[in-house]
Amino acid sequence: MLYQSFLIKYAEIGTKGKNRFLFEDALISRICHALKQVDGKFDVSKESGRIYVTACGEYDYEDTVEALKKVFGIAWICPMFQTEDRDYDRLKQYVCCYLNQVYPDRNRTFKVEARRADKRYPVPSEQMNRDLGEVILDTFPQMRVDVHHPDVLLRVEVRAAVVNLYSEMIPGPGGMPVGTNGKAMLLLSGGIDSPVAGYMVAKRGVRIDAVYFHAPPYTSERARQKVVDLAKLVSRYSGPIDLHVVNFTEIQMHIYEICPHEELTIIMRRYMMRIAQRIAEETGSMALITGESIGQVASQTVQSLAVTNEVCTMPVFRPVIAFDKQEIVDISERIGTYETSILPYEDCCTIFVAKHPVTKPSLKVIRRSEEKLAGTIEKMVETAIAGREVIRCG
């Protein structure tokens, strides 16, 4: 394998001032975690504001790139040819050898961009650019120089111990390393939107846990398994997720019996938020995340969102709030949750859904309906929270 190491470029965390080292260390730790899944041993190190991943011995290139592409905080992954041989004449050979292997099709324009990190190196950068360019033109007559828009931008980096050559840049996922921004609790259903919402918030460096409301026999074991699978898929990006499975049947049936039918969904959602918030408080999450999107269904009109939101004291993050369905679908396809989200496991909760649910609920009316639950529902909520099952995903 030509490539034995990678230069990891990060974007936003470069701007974090005095806390910068915290972000870099978090990124290194996330990279190490991601590479644990890959065959091979890796050394991940930080040197003068750059992060290098170096494989020690045999490793799987494709798997490594795939793993790195899932680490938030990485802007670019640059596979590098690296040598400890700093001899200038031989460097010219290495450059030709590199181009020969990476670009079998010679009909391209190029530019050399040398950087002398070790200023003791005898040849200045400008000189290197000229010399190496000349060698390339001599060796590959079809190649042309283009200093403005080259097809191949070959970077040559001379460091104290090694010389690096790289020209390929593989885009990373961007964002910030998970763990640099606290923890939040995702309300995860089996649908398309909530895994995307979790992914998006995790991308900002937030660790996530999740809560799923299970209503047997109205929801099936397969529906539950699907949510576990989705949590695992999201965890490929976010790192381990604790999935809290809460049995919601008793609460749901109670609301169904006591409250007006068309208000059922709204009241249920208010209880889901309350329970999610309670579990979040207990487990160190500081915010809630939902996959709500304005107007998608009756419970996601602005009026409904306001009524649902009213029970929360924590901030509620709704990253897809202004996204069209197709935009959410596009992300879910890209992150690999779509296929699982659309599995058709029957969700018999539709039995409880009114044919004409309220779309413009009034907080006053909903509160009055909820008063009728007072005295009985609290215990059910306690039981549901205490009896929850926690599954570690990822």
Binding site: P216, P217, Y218, E221, H261, E346, C348, I351, V353, A354
Partner: protein, 384 residues
Amino acid sequence: MEAYFDNSATTKVFDSVRDIVVKTMTEDYANPSAKHSKGVEAENYIKEARSVIARSLRVQEKEIVFTSGGSESNNMALIGGAMANRRAGNHIISSNIEHPSVYNPLGYLEEQGYEVTYLPVDRQGHIDLSELEAAVRPDTVLVSVMYVNNEVGTVEPVEEISKIVKRKNPAALFHVDAIQAYGKYEIRPKRQGIDLLSVSAHKLHGPKGVGFLYIDEKVKIKPLIYGGGQQRNLRSGTENVPGIAGMGEAVREMFTDHQKKIDGLYELKEYAESRLRKLEGVTLNNPPGREGAPQIVSASFEGVRSEVLLHALEEKGIYVSSGSACSSHHPGLSGTLKGVGVRPDLLDCTLRFSFGLFNTKEEVDYAAETLKQLLPLLRRFRRR
């Protein structure tokens, strides 16, 4: 308590089946085509299974071809049968209550230019014989019907069907999907005029992934799988020795004291029917008692969604199916239930209880008691 009433989906294997499967995987594991003695040992398991199965149908051993199960047998019979007799015509007859492993190959054949007539059924699920007679044409190459319907347990009059078909067109092949019937009924292809018969092992306490197709010696079939030429070129691929040996053992066991076993199933079925009839708002869709197959009871529960009831029963350790488990992956209402005239409001409220030799009366009691408790509870929560 656990009560597994989903035996028409699949069954638990007999202990003796498990033993022979383990033995052929761990001791007598050679390739049956190998020239050495260990290969001969393995081949003997196949010979033995073939002989037991041939005897159970009173047919010749060479008329049995081992397959990967019911779906392959049906595909082979329909596609292989139609293709091999292409010159005789391109018309096929079947019914509208067939299993997807018959429907979908027929759909494929339609794409290939065949014309398929789907016969309707009456309220009991029987094919209308006069419609059949009218449908048979000189260019009819194949007629395919199921012996026992997998959703309601109706038994089709295969012998009469064969007579009608052969009288009008002696060259037409008659295929019977006997996947729910074999092991329950004494099937005699020669006497009943069956040319092709599909069977799956795992419906009769045998292993999954194995089955066979009976092909009358006079019938020409085009293979679906080409390769090393095993099974007289009809079905290439190293024989699934553990599966085949397991199937042979299951067949041997099934047909030992056969009548007693079937009587036991009918007793269980009739007992379940009587217990279910006592419950409020329950309609039975299967032909009662001995009028239908011994293992299938189909019941509709007014005002309760079948999936909800299925999951509620599952919480109590009772396993049943809604519609046919094989097709439950495709949500949509059962064609068979509609075909036999189940009331539209009950289509989505129907469960199948299917019995096997390991079930007991106590399990039926337990299920009946559980239903008695669950139904009123679940009916309180219907869609308003």
